[in-house]
Amino acid sequence: MRFPKPLPAAAGVLLLVLWPLIFPDAAHIQQVLGITCLYATLALAWNLYALTGAISLGHAAFFGLGAYASALLNHYYHWSPLLTIPLGALAAVVFAVFWAMGFRRLRGVYLGLASLAALEIPKTIVDNWDRFTYGSMGIMGLDRLPSATLGGLQVDLGMDLQAQYYLLLGIMLLAVLLNLKSIRSRWGWTLRAIRENETAAAALGIASNRERAKALLLSSYLAGLAGALYAHILGLVEPGLVFNLHLSVLPLVFCIFGGSTKVWGPVLGAFILYPLEQLCLLPLFPMGHSAVYGLVIILTIFFFPQGIAAWLPRAPKSA
């Protein structure tokens, strides 16, 4: 099954790569779009797990654990964020292992609700383990992303917003690639089989729990990575911030808005909703922005029930 790359996607990626070169001074847009990439990564991570048919409401737990693990490594051992971020994201994977074991039998709404409850566990523990995690006080003054030398070119990831944008864009594109691979491969079809009919999948000899767990581990690592990056971009972590329910709902909103289980859906959702809110609604309506935001969501759902991505020309599907 060869899937030709749809042209609009290539054009979109090109636009995302090139625009900072056209508007080099637009630091605030680089800032906003950089964070958009970060949230799109989280949404793509969520989508990876959603490919197995699971609607998770607990991805904030992965995000928060990634953020805290990286922050603690940086705080206690003073390792470079370039090291602590990929290592810290492993904490999310550890939690995902428990998740995969504990929620083996849960499906559908109940999995969603259980994951919502599971968020409380790392949150409360981090919040109350004062001696190690500083509890509710959070940790401040984390190291920023350091400078890196790339072929004689000094790139300050922490201070140079353009470099930071490209880093986050790169990570997002990696997540897109991972999603692409996970949808259009033998494993992707295995996940789809599990999503559509688990009984039939088991009858074909597919170990659905194991495949689901694989997807979850990948998903949790990506979400943890997003959390770890978040911690070092802002320089602080706090239980209430990184274990926030809003971080669990955000990927859900982006994915449904953009079109779930499609590769570009989460990206599209993130790149429409987040910049719309940050660059337009908040400056224009300091008080009533969330009303407009809510209206946009409602109207979009009525006009594009399958998400915005359904509106784009579809990648021709091989038969």
Binding site: R186, T190, A193, N197, A200, A202, A203, L204, G205, A319
Partner: protein, 255 residues
């Protein structure tokens, strides 16, 4: 003929199953030599589906054991059984609703971890099995849009594509016209000649009559009679428990 010779493919020993205080199966035992087609009949609620579920790992027996080519499989999970070559279809067809008929069959040829064929090989096989059940012209139709009987055929092609050694068919012919039943029977007989062992249930006696080497009659969780289909149809116990009066048979196509 069967590659395995007269080897025993499936052996069921003393299976018991209770639902609450109701006994569904009591000491069901039989054995199925490789390369044979065994039929299973019985009135509604006799325990046919439960027996199928126990053999294929979807339900646990309360007592007794099941052997598959000499190996005890009593507590195996469905996926392990499928990998070992024991496949089944369901009364309510279990297919992938959003995928096309062809994709469904492709899943059977491509996904099972035990075989891992190349993609092009799997495609060829999907074509092969889909044409075998006669659905080649409906290959692009999403499975959920197909009528129930054709969904059953899609499911059959899908499990056949996993290349099983033993296939359990649960009322596969329900809703088939007699012509279709004939074609199916011919196809199954051919598969048997290629070495597949079959266990099937059917309400309408016609399919069993066409293909089964032997038929078990189940009533209230017990095997009451067994023998060749022609003998069973006139057996007084079967008639009273299952077929009703003789003219009931006329309803089953013995025009």
């Amino acid at each position: 003929m069967a590659a395995q010779g007269p080897q025993v493919c499936l052996e069921v020993r003393q299976i018991k199953k209770y639902f609450g205080d109701q006994t569904v199966l009591r000491d069901v035992s039989f054995s199925l030599p490789a390369g044979e087609i065994l039929g299973l009949i019985g009135p509604n609620g006799a325990g046919k589906s439960t027996l199928f579920n126990i053999i294929s790992g979807w339900q646990k027996a309360d007592a007794g054991s099941v052997f598959f080519f000499g190996q005890e499989i009593t507590s195996w999970t469905p996926k392990d059984l499928s990998r070992a070559g024991l496949a089944r279809t369901f009364q309510v067809p279990q297919i992938f609703p959003e995928m096309s008929a062809w994709e469904n069959v492709l899943m059977g040829a491509w996904l099972p971890p035990q075989s891992r064929p190349s993609f092009s090989k799997a495609q060829e096989e999907a074509d092969h099995w889909l044409s075998l059940v006669g659905l080649l012209e409906l290959r692009h139709t999403p499975a959920r849009d197909l009528p129930l009987a054709q969904q059953r055929l899609v499911e059959l092609a899908q499990v056949l594509a996993t290349r099983p050694r033993l296939l359990l068919l649960d009322e596969i012919a329900a809703g088939f016209s007699l012509g279709a039943v004939k074609r199916l029977a011919a196809g199954l007989a051919k598969l048997r000649d290629q070495g597949l062992t079959l266990l099937l249930t059917d309400h309408l006696f016609n399919l069993l009559e066409e293909v089964a080497d032997r038929v078990l009659a189940l009533d209230r969780g017990e095997i009451i009679v067994q023998g060749p289909p022609a003998a069973l149809i006139h057996h007084p116990d079967v008639v009273s428990a299952y077929l009703g009066t003789r003219c009931g048979a006329a309803d089953n196509g013995e025009a």
